[in-house]
């Protein structure tokens, strides 16, 4: 499903546009996902008044543009091409705790407008702040929004518009999960990555494997077995553990680099393993793949602790293959 964005000329960096009504949560989302702001501190964010453009340099380069809520993108004074040319995805944020009919009207107008010139733009609707809603009501709201958007678009002659819907909140993992899915659509190598992960899990009795961007905790690929948010959560929490401990004990001791250079057995890629008490088997495994990416595996119930060499070998193979298809982030 790795569909290329409208990648004409230009710098070729996919652009993620965050749009939606005022106070819908756009700036909060980008601060939490890309700047690790604790969710509770978003209460103090100031209203965005100008387009805020940020470049993210990670496993791939992309830009995040945070729009002020009231902007009229189709005002002739505004250079539409300039905004939408390099676009990777349009993320439309709707506050699910608020009246959302106006937001839908504006969303639809935007989609219809763009449809003429840029038929391939992915439109990703984040039904946001769902943490405040009960499970039942949450589903109802998402259904209702989906229905209204799709109906109205087809009334205007736009059938099967490429619009996806996600329920999100900055207070749990859902926002990272949604962003992961949005970004995966922008990675042309995705099918290859998935095939590599599939073969890895088959060879090592792994239950689920994720390739994570360590900094943002977005996963850029997983094997093709069914995914559930629970597996993502445990892997994502595990990254926190490893990153935090590495920060605490990885402080700069000065002569460190020199030492590492001399020592032939020095470890280049950090790795981590957890074994469980109850079953004394491997449970979680993490291995740094390159500067940006880490492989995290949830081991199967039958993965005994002594199977580590098999894992090492297969992960090595995976790592080499990845370097071929994704030649980013070599050290």
């Amino acid at each position: 499903t790795g569909r290329l964005p409208n990648n004409k000329a230009g710098d070729g960096k996919p652009r993620l546009l965050l749009m939606g009504q005022r106070r819908s949560g756009k700036s909060s989302i980008s601060s939490v996902v890309f700047h690790k702001l604790p969710p509770s501190e978003t209460l103090y964010l100031e209203t965005t008044t100008r387009i805020k453009k940020e470049s993210m340099h990670s496993f791939m380069d992309f830009q995040v543009w945070d729009f002020p809520g009231h902007l009229d993108y189709f005002d002739p004074a505004f250079d539409v091409d300039n905004i939408f040319d390099e676009i990777g995805a349009l993320i439309w944020v709707i506050d699910a705790q608020d009246e959302y009919l106006d937001a839908i009207v504006r969303l639809n107008a935007t989609i219809l407008n763009l449809h003429q010139t840029y038929p391939n733009i992915n439109v990703e609707v984040f039904v946001h702040k769902v943490d405040g809603l009960s499970d039942d009501f949450r589903n109802e709201v998402i259904q209702d929004i989906t229905q209204r958007v799709m109906d109205e678009l087809s009334d205007n002659g736009y059938e099967n518009a490429p619009v996806s819907f996600y329920s999100t909140s900055i207070y749990d993992h859902s926002i990272f999960d949604a962003f992961s899915k949005v970004i995966q659509k922008l990675i042309p190598q995705l099918p290859t990555l998935e095939a590599l992960l599939d073969s890895l899990i088959r060879n090592c009795h792994i239950e689920k494997a994720y390739l994570f961007d360590v900094l943002s905790k977005i996963y850029i690929a997983t094997d093709t077995s069914p995914t559930d948010i629970g597996s993502y959560e445990i892997c994502s929490d595990y990254i926190d553990v490893v990153v935090d401990v590495s920060e605490i004990y990885g402080w700069d001791r000065g002569d460190d680099e020199a030492q590492a250079g001399n020592n032939e057995n020095a470890i280049n890629d950090a790795e981590s393993l957890i074994t469980l008490e109850k079953k004394s088997n491997n449970y979680l495994y993490l291995r740094e793949i390159n500067k940006y990416l880490a492989l995290i595996c949830l081991m199967g119930d039958d993965s005994p602790a002594d199977k580590k060499p098999l894992i090492d070998y297969n992960v090595g193979v995976f790592q080499e293959a990845l370097a071929q298809v994704f030649p980013r982030g070599e050290k």
């Binding site: 445990i234 553990v241 004990y249 001791r253 057995n265 074994t275 469980l276």
Partner: protein, 326 residues
């Protein structure tokens, strides 16, 4: 310290105005709640007791005393001797957001008076709580001001009372409770001595002993260069990391958080190696060592061999045993 039997049961009072956050912190530290779960707690009616086995030979007898005025009145009058008798530690929680700080301190004084009457040898810890609600740049000054004001009202405990800023939303909670627990552990020095020997045998940069259920630090040993580690809050940070991870693991494996224990966690990087493993029935040992497979493997074996020595310590105050290298 000669009557080690009597020291095993330690009565700890948790007091403070209703809504100050007493039950919240108790649930997080001792019952595996996560911070956002505490909204579900109701006001405590009268006293809730919990017994927490800590390091084998220490039994915490925690009295979470509901803080509504009627209850407090009752503690001070009809139940005075019952509540305030034979107390080892009083933890008094102040809500930083309280609009009646002066009144809170008056109520604190009444309690202090009862305590000094019935348990003059007790130790008092004051927690200035919900600090997350104060803007970061104002925190330390406000904390100092409040502490001084409260100290002035501490009567016979004036010189010994300790203050901590806390919030359930960060590791400050662990920092405060670590100090409290350290105060209560009768044989901390012995444990520390043994731990230091072990650290030398395995050439560890740092060893940290954690209680398994609460993930609170019992004690630590830091050697050589590691004493320059710029993260001075690392002990409570690791407590908090371990606790969060325990919850995450419990959720995913459907094992109750109380028993979602890992046998071992290891992290190997080019700069350090780290592992945390079970030491005794009630403790986990975290070790930070130089980045070398040999050291790593030897360390694990030596820790395994040292288990029985620590297990003895865990049960009773025995004379300090020696360690041999594997």
């Amino acid at each position: 310290m000669n009557s080690s039997r009597r020291q095993k049961q330690r009565k700890v009072l948790l007091m403070g105005k209703s809504g100050a956050g007493k039950s919240s912190m108790r649930s997080i530290v001792f019952s595996n709640y996560v911070a956002k779960d505490v909204r579900r707690l109701g006001a405590t009616i009268d006293v809730e007791h919990s017994n927490i086995k800590f390091m084998g030979n220490l039994m915490l007898n925690l009295w979470d005393c509901g803080g509504q005025d009627g209850f407090v009145e009752n503690y001070l009058t009809h139940q005075r001797a019952h509540v305030f008798g034979s107390v080892a530690v009083l933890i008094f929680v102040f809500d930083i957001e309280s609009r009646e700080f002066a009144a809170d301190v008056v109520s604190y004084s009444n309690i202090i008076r009862a305590l000094s009457e019935c348990s003059p040898g007790a130790k008092v810890f004051c927690l200035i709580h919900k600090m997350d609600l104060v803007q970061a740049r104002l925190r330390s000054q406000l904390f100092e001001e409040r502490s001084e004001y409260i100290r002035a009202a501490s009567e016979t405990f004036k010189d010994t009372v300790d203050f901590f800023p806390t919030s359930i939303w960060d590791q400050s909670l662990y920092k405060a409770w670590t100090q409290i627990i350290y105060f209560l552990i009768p044989n901390a020095a012995t444990i520390e001595g043994l731990l230091r020997q072990l650290a030398e045998v395995i050439d560890a940069r740092e060893l940290i002993l954690y209680e398994r259920t609460t993930c609170l630090m019992v004690t630590h040993v830091t050697r050589d260069e590691e004493s320059q580690n710029p993260f001075t809050d690392r002990f409570e940070r690791i407590s908090s990391i371990l606790k969060t991870h325990k919850q995450s693991m419990a959720k995913h494996t459907n094992i109750p958080p109380g028993s979602a224990n890992f046998a071992e966690m290891q992290i190997k990087t080019g700069r350090f190696m780290f592992f945390i493993t079970r030491l005794t029935e009630n403790t986990n040992l975290a070790a930070a060592i130089p980045p070398s497979e040999q050291v790593f493997n030897a360390a694990r074996i030596n820790i395994m061999l040292a288990r029985s020595k620590f297990a003895e310590l865990d049960i009773a105050n025995k004379p300090r045993p020696g360690l041999q290298q594997a």
